[in-house]
């Protein structure tokens, strides 16, 4: 009863926490730096999401003490993540394989439908904060009717 609650011995100290924090800062910098490069859009998206996954794993394992947690509590987060990926994955699968008109008008799956021409064109001006890297003409939906 008087024994310390936390005496497993694999306890993290302030030095380790600061190291994890530094890693998180570096990874945040990586996300922003990669975003400014001229890698392909798909590559930048994949890198940004991969870095976010690594960062969340660092937070969960070290800051949230999954490292020193024992038993079934370690499973809860893994199972939640699995359920989230199932929810997102199957929702996208459903909409990606639908008959095109079953998706909202002017959405991507209507792209090949002849009367997509009726869609209001995407009118993009360079926003005030950031200069748009891509010109308006390159947008698939920016064609003039």
């Amino acid at each position: 009863m008087t024994a310390a609650t936390h005496s497993e011995g694999k306890h993290l100290g302030p030095a380790q926490y600061v190291m994890v924090w530094a890693a998180l800062m570096v990874l945040t910098g990586v996300t922003l730096a990669v975003w400014k490069t001229d890698f392909s859009y798909a590559a930048r998206v994949v890198i940004a999401l991969a870095v976010a996954l690594v960062k969340s794993a660092l937070v969960a394992i070290f800051f949230m003490h999954l490292w020193e947690e024992k038993g079934v509590a370690r499973l809860v987060l893994v199972v939640s993540a699995l359920m989230v990926s199932l929810l997102i994955g199957f929702t996208l699968l459903d909409n990606a394989t639908r008959f095109p008109y079953a998706n909202p008008p002017y959405s991507e799956s209507w792209k090949d439908v002849p009367w997509q021409k009726d869609a209001p064109p995407m009118q993009a001006e360079p926003p005030p904060i950031r200069t748009a890297p891509r010109s308006q003409a390159e947008h698939p939906a920016a064609h003039k009717p």
């Binding site: 609650t5 993540a81 989230v84 997102i88 991507e108 995407m122």
Partner: protein, 215 residues
């Protein structure tokens, strides 16, 4: 150091054999609660994934209107606040309650910074008319999916902001108790659990930032 064992009331419920088992059960319960929080946000992330899939151009253009500098600053603020909470938990386990109060106060200040920056962002979007649905009247960008981006932006950051506020409330209460010297090696459960909550808020922001501000 060990004043809590002598001065504090007996915190062990009669159905637990010892404090260690009791705290393990409490953490387990907190993780189960956090899983319901994750699933709550998961629905919004699913809506985001779905509408981004349906309107890729609209979402890509609309996300360029997000204020990246403020979002990135808020990312740094939240991650640093996670560090200070982790340190508060560490010192609560050591029974150094004054340090716990200090680190929790810093954390709450970071939370306030986050909310103030968020308020500036909302103000900019409000003034520019970048609002959900029929309230959208920004002339610089229009097209399918653009106002949907802002509906999800306000819904996701709003729910997240609400969680930041709740977390600040929880940490204030824990700091108040730490100020009375309640925590030590045998009892630090409130610090641990509210810390877990704060880390989850940080974890969700880690995904919200790239999704809403960059992609």
């Amino acid at each position: 150091m060990h004043t809590d064992a002598a001065a504090a009331p007996n915190r062990l419920a009669h159905h637990f054999p010892d404090m260690k088992t009791q705290e393990h059960a409490a953490r387990m319960g907190m993780w189960l609660f956090l899983s319901t929080e994750i699933l709550l946000f998961a629905v919004l992330f699913t809506a985001y994934a779905l509408y981004r899939f349906l309107f890729p151009v609209g979402f890509e253009e609309a996300s360029r209107l997000a204020h990246v500098a403020m979002g990135a600053t808020n990312t740094v603020v939240l991650i640093t606040s996670s560090l200070t909470v982790a340190l508060a938990i560490h010192y609560a386990r050591q029974g150094e309650n004054r340090k716990v109060v200090g680190f929790l106060a810093v954390t709450i200040l970071f939370g306030m910074t986050f909310m103030v920056l968020k308020g500036f962002e909302y103000h900019h979007h409000w003034v520019d008319g970048q609002l959900p649905g029929r309230m959208y009247h920004f002339t610089g960008l229009s097209g399918p999916g653009v106002s949907m981006y802002f509906a999800l932006y306000f819904l996701m950051t709003g729910l997240h902001g609400l969680h930041v506020l709740i977390g600040m409330g929880l940490l204030s209460w824990v700091a108040f108790r730490a100020n009375r010297g309640e925590f030590g090696p045998t009892y630090s459960t409130p610090v641990e659990l509210s810390g877990l909550y704060w880390h989850l808020v940080d974890l969700i922001w880690i995904f919200l930032f790239p999704l809403l501000y960059l992609l």
